[in-house]
Amino acid sequence: MKTLNRMLLRDVREHKAQLIAVSVVLMFGVFSFLATYISYVNINKSAEFYYDEYRFLDYYALANHIDDSTARTLAKEDGVIAAEPRISEEARIDIGETRVSVKVNSLPAGREPYVNQLYYFEGKAPQVGKNQCLVSSTLQEFYQMEIGDEIELIAEGKVTTLQIAGTAASPEYIYEVSGASSLYSVPGDYGVIYLNEDFMQNLFGYPGAYNEVHFLLEPAVAEGTIERIEELLDTSGFVAGIERKDQISNSLLRSEIDQLESMAVLFPLLFMSISAFMLYIMMKRTIQNQRITLGTMKALGLYRKDILLYYMKLGGISGLIGSIFGAVLGTYGGMALNEYYTLYFHIPVMIIDTKPLLIIMAIGGGMGVTLLGSYLAGRTAFALRPAEAMRPASPEAVTGYDYEEKLGRLWHKVPFGWKMVIRNIGRKKFRTAATALGVCFTVIMLLVSMFMGDTTDHLVQKNFHEYQQFDIKANFIAPVSFQDIRPLADIEGVRTIEPVLDMGVKLSFMGEEKDILLSGVRPDTEMVTLRDEKGRILTIPPSGVVMPASYAESMGIGLGDIINLEPYDKRLEEEQVVVVALAEQYMDFSTYADIEYLGRLFDDSQHATGILITADKEHYMSIEDELQDYPYVQSVNNRAEMVAWLESMMGFVDVYMGVMLLISGIIGFAIIFNSTLINIAERKRELASLRVLGYRIKEIKQMLGRENMLVAVLALVPGIYFGYRISILFGETFTNDMYNLVIIISLQSYLITIVSTLFFVWFAGVAVRSRIHNLDMVEVLKDREG
């Protein structure tokens, strides 16, 4: 069938604009899928690889005093692959003039840690007997430290000079955060350093003992093993046991990766579905416009399969071009996104892989979509008998809508030009629907690409400007009595201070469990403003707790219910409390109670684990510095820095959404452009007739322009509605224990969407104008209608 193939090539050339538009739609569908999915798969694989290769812990236990023999007993337990004790303490270091809170971990004598093995960027482990240390790579990068540099360690009331022997990373600290009370650490505010075991034992007073054991466990027996480990540690003053899933860095990483997965699946899925559906509509219209050719082929005796193949090839060519370009762009896009993620996720062994199978699947999927689209679109046309196919399609049934009757005198007031536009729109239902659908999809894609930005802005506003009112928060190394923190109020620039008691607890209710942060504050606190779902301000009750509404909802807890709280610190007893109120919270979730009530409830003490401060802005820096001088202060967070840091972190969502916005813009334009192009092709005869009647080109353009605009404006409404609904659906998948996303689409986003969509419609109209100019009336009208 070489003649048919030659015809195909010329047909492709003839329809190039249309086919390119189809290719573009598909290309960006494939691109969005591949780029995001490749980067997600790579980041996930990298994390898994890092965890496996560097033997990230399965479980770790904290206890007061673990001796060598206990550690050895633990290692021999059934189901335990490895048990490695270490000392881990909070301390501070001075890097030049700057004081930084650090976690200090011990390294086993004369060897590398087996569990949580270190990845060395530079240098080597500290030498035994020398005052050397390893610093985490994030700390080293932030302060630009070099091997051989000296830092001052402030611990146990002593200052020790340490020389930097190397920089390293550990699978334990992909996120370097101090603990549950400060999930978000501003870079440079917190870090990790490693010292030799004997050095730490001497410094922190653990001769021949440890305060943590890290485990690798057999996967199948983990549950029972953990129970036995905790029993064995009872005599060592067992404090808490944490499984891998609850380990803070890991749970942060998992939640980030989960979000990435949602984004990598949801957005491309939406784009691909829209692309596929539009391809189907485009192919259907293209084939419908060729029914005479199709009929002639059948009359000549060409087999159905040959004809079918012909149209599948026609669609397939755009599919192939679109998919291949999409795959190439997607692969590079995926790698570029990975490079970006490397900056964001601190995984030193990033696997950047091109995933040939995924690429083949994407190309195959793209091709499949076009072939299936062409097949389905052509199916009705192929089913026609040749005599039928060669007759022009019978005029579509008149709508029966009598504007005159329905609108009465109003209809008479409509100018004639508009009457024609309205009648055309009502008469050609399929064409109107196809155009409207294109517009609708464009609106949906644009809105869905913008809601994330608006929603995170809202989140920051709610959390940092309405809910949290303090300026600085300092966390203590260990609980401090109310009396001892009073002098902090005298620091220059401090306006008010309030104690806070943060406790990690396991909440249980009717068989449901959740790890939560319990925060004790003053009943008349001015540091946080809690509001109920109606926006009414809540006060901290003298007894009972105020829970985050989203937690209560997910666990089925209602007002007045009694919940069980089991502190992580095993030295404290479990307690039952009443849920007095539910507060809307968006991030930094905490269950609030009166600080004195909490003290009475758990250990009958009057202690704080931190302090909340309001201060004058110009004094933030000096206050932070001064706070660091107090021996019990472990870390200091400045809320303004937190907001800035969080916004920079959101930068990665912004970049992603920017890319998605660009893609939706391009796909949207391609769809609208194609639709306009087919409109003209379908109506050549009608337009030529108008020209013959004496209509000016300008008037015809105006008529078409009005038609497209009117359809577009009408399609905006369902577009906005579905865009909003889909945004909510997407938002739900991003809501987790760290974020409670309230889907917000700003007025600005709606305006951008509407203006861009209408611009696309207008511009597509302008772009196809030459086709009206070049319309050869005589040629068109000479041909039989088809």
Binding site: M1, R6, R10, T296, G301, R385, P386, M390, S394
Partner: protein, 236 residues
């Protein structure tokens, strides 16, 4: 069935269902076409002549009745069998030529010749219709008469048993139309093909071996021309 009949049509009706209205395009047609005849089917617009031609050519299905082609009832054929029938036995010429705009003159003819093993030589056929000089032109570069000659070349290139021409001169002026008729006549004389030509122009009937007149889906009369005229002797 007469002994040398190529088509034997019995009680064929065709009803088009147009929603609320039913159009009876053919109402009980009985007809026998002899092999090798040049038959002109004459009738006004709406008489059912195109419908009859489409059904005989396997382009459409009858609502009722039987159509025997060389003894086989094609009215019972499946879609695939009808395609095969059109492919092997029938050549079509349409009023509006229906050439493939993306193919040259030669390629348009090749499109047909490629699908049949005993097809005629493309250049021979083009020479026969007087277009051997314009093989590389596209349809848009040809006059109506030339386009129709390409369509005829395309129809006969398959070397079909039957040539069905639906108003082949309908879109052409007198002189050009005449040339087309001469081409058709020549094809008839130089081969033993059966040719059915439908037209509303009664003068064309003079060139036929046999004339069938139709009106309102029925055959009004059918007669043989004892002395068919040469197209050059016809005028309208």
């Amino acid at each position: 069935m007469s002994h040398d009949a190529i088509f034997d049509i019995k009680g064929v009706t065709k009803v088009y269902d147009m929603g609320e209205v039913q159009v009876h395009a053919l109402q009980g047609i009985d007809l026998s076409i002899e092999r090798g005849d040049l038959v002109v089917v004459l009738g006004a617009s709406g008489s059912g002549k195109s419908t009859l031609l489409n059904i005989m050519g396997g382009m459409d299905l009858a609502t009722q009745g039987e159509i025997f082609y060389q003894g086989e009832d094609i009215s019972t054929y499946s879609e695939a069998e009808l395609t095969e029938f059109r492919r092997q036995e029938v050549g079509f010429v349409f009023q509006f030529y229906n050439l493939m705009p993306a193919l040259t003159v030669r390629e348009n003819v090749e499109l047909a010749s490629e699908i049949k093993p005993d097809a005629l030589d493309v250049m021979d056929v083009l020479r026969q219709v007087g277009l051997d000089e314009r093989t590389n032109h596209f349809p848009s570069q040809l006059s109506g008469g030339e386009q129709q000659r390409v369509a005829i070349a395309r129809a006969i290139a398959k070397n079909p048993e039957v040539l069905l021409c639906d108003e082949p001169t309908g879109a052409l002026d007198f002189a050009t139309g005449l040339k087309i008729l001469e081409v058709i006549k020549r094809i008839h004389e130089t081969s033993d093909r059966t040719i059915l030509l439908i037209t509303h122009n009664k003068d064309i009937a003079h060139m036929a071996d046999r004339v069938i007149r139709m009106r309102s889906g029925k055959i009004l009369e059918s007669y043989r021309n004892e002395h068919p005229k040469d197209p050059s002797e016809i005028s309208w």
